[in-house]
Symmetry: C2
Subunit: 202 residues, 2 copies
C-alpha cells in the first residue's frame, strides 16, 4: 500500500538525488519540512530558483559571482596582490583558502580537473584562459592548489610543464600530516609525503 | 572579503537550517547544484513548493495524505483489519511499520508526544480524536508504538490509563536487543529491558 502522497514522495526523491543524502535522510528532511512553518520550504525553494538565474562565472577567474557582475569581488579588488595567483579546482576551494585569511593574492578556478578516464582534457577546463592570463607578465608565482588526488596531481604536473617555460615560479600546497592528526593512524602515502617534505627546524 | 554571491549564500543558509545539515554539507550541496544541470535545482524547488499546498492530514488517522483526499489510503482501505489500531508519533513511523509488512491494521498518528518540559499536553496532540475513534467499539486492541524515549513512555502510560477503562486491550512494542546488535555493546537500559522481557522458548 502506497503510504505517502505524491508530493511528499517527490520531495523525498528530489532530496535523495543530492550527493551524500540517502533515502532515510531524505525522508527525515521531507517530514521535517512538512511539520515546519511554510516559510521554511518556500525560502529553500526560492533560493534554489534563484541559484542559477542570479549567478554567473567571473570572466577573469571563473569563480561564481552575482549575475550582472562581470568580475568577482576578488578580481575587482585593488587591495589584493596581483603578482601571486592561486589555482584551484572549484569555487568551494576559494572559500576554504579565503577562510584561512593567509592568502592575499588572486585566484583562478579551473572548474574541474584533468581526468583522462572521464575524458576531461585541458580543453574541458579553464587551463587555456589561465595561460592567457599569465601572458601579461604581472604574475610572479602560481600556487597550484588542486586536490591531493591522482587527478589533482596530474593537473598540477600539466600546469607546471606549461607555466615554468613562461619564467613564472610554480609552487604547490604542502602535503603532510593534517594538524591534529595522529601519526599512528596516518595512511602510508601521507606519511611518505610528510617524510619526503620534512622541514628543517634550524 | 565576501567571496560568495548572495544567491549562493542564501541557498547555503537555507540548507543549513535543515536538521542534520551543517554549514559544510550545506555549501557542498549548493555548489553541487551550481554545477549540476538546471533541472536538478528546479525539480527540488518545485517539490518544495508543492509540499504544503498538495498535502493535508487524514481526518481520521492524521497521517499525511494528498490534498483533496479526506482519508488516507490506509483509512479508506477495506482490506485492513479495523479491530487493531497502531498509535504512532509521526507519519514517518507509519512508513517504518508499513515497510515491515507485518501489520495489517489501521493507524493513528499523534503528531507529537506528551512533553511537560516543552509544554505539550494531551490537548496539543491528537489524543482526544483517538479516544473519540475508540468509542464505536470496533477496535479490540491498541498497539502503542511511541518511541522508546522518556516522552514516548509517558505518552504510552497516559494512553494506557485512558484506553484500558474502555475495555480495549493495550499493548506496546517490545523493547530488547536490536536484531544484529551485540550484547557486549548494548546499553544498560536496553539490556535491563531485554532481561525483564525475556521470552520463553517452550
Amino acid at each position: 500500500m502506497r503510504a505517502l502522497p505524491d508530493s511528499v514522495q517527490n520531495l523525498i526523491d528530489a532530496f535523495a538525488r543530492l550527493p551524500g543524502i540517502g533515502p532515510k535522510t531524505a525522508s527525515r528532511l521531507a517530514f521535517y519540512l512538512l511539520k515546519a512553518p511554510d516559510e521554511s520550504s518556500l525560502q529553500l525553494a526560492e533560493a534554489l530558483e534563484q541559484l542559477k538565474s542570479q549567478t554567473q562565472h567571473c570572466r577573469t577567474c571563473f569563480n561564481v559571482t552575482s549575475a550582472g557582475q562581470e568580475q568577482c569581488e576578488i578580481c575587482a579588488s585593488t587591495n589584493r596582490d596581483e603578482s601571486i595567483l592561486c589555482v584551484v579546482e572549484e569555487p568551494l576551494d576559494v572559500l576554504a583558502i579565503e577562510r584561512t585569511g593567509a592568502f592575499n593574492g588572486k585566484y583562478h578556478v579551473l572548474l574541474g580537473v584533468l581526468s583522462p578516464i572521464e575524458g576531461i582534457g585541458p580543453d574541458q577546463i579553464k587551463i587555456f584562459p589561465l595561460l592567457e592570463r599569465l601572458k601579461d607578465g604581472k604574475v610572479r608565482e602560481v600556487i597550484i592548489a588542486t586536490n591531493p588526488s591522482m587527478e589533482g596531481d596530474a593537473t598540477a604536473l600539466y600546469l607546471q610543464q606549461r607555466i615554468l617555460p613562461l619564467g613564472i615560479k610554480v609552487s604547490r600546497l604542502a602535503r603532510g600530516l593534517p594538524v591534529g592528526g595522529d601519526i599512528e593512524y596516518a595512511d602510508q602515502n601521507t606519511l611518505l609525503r610528510a617524510l619526503a617534505g620534512r622541514q628543517s627546524m634550524e
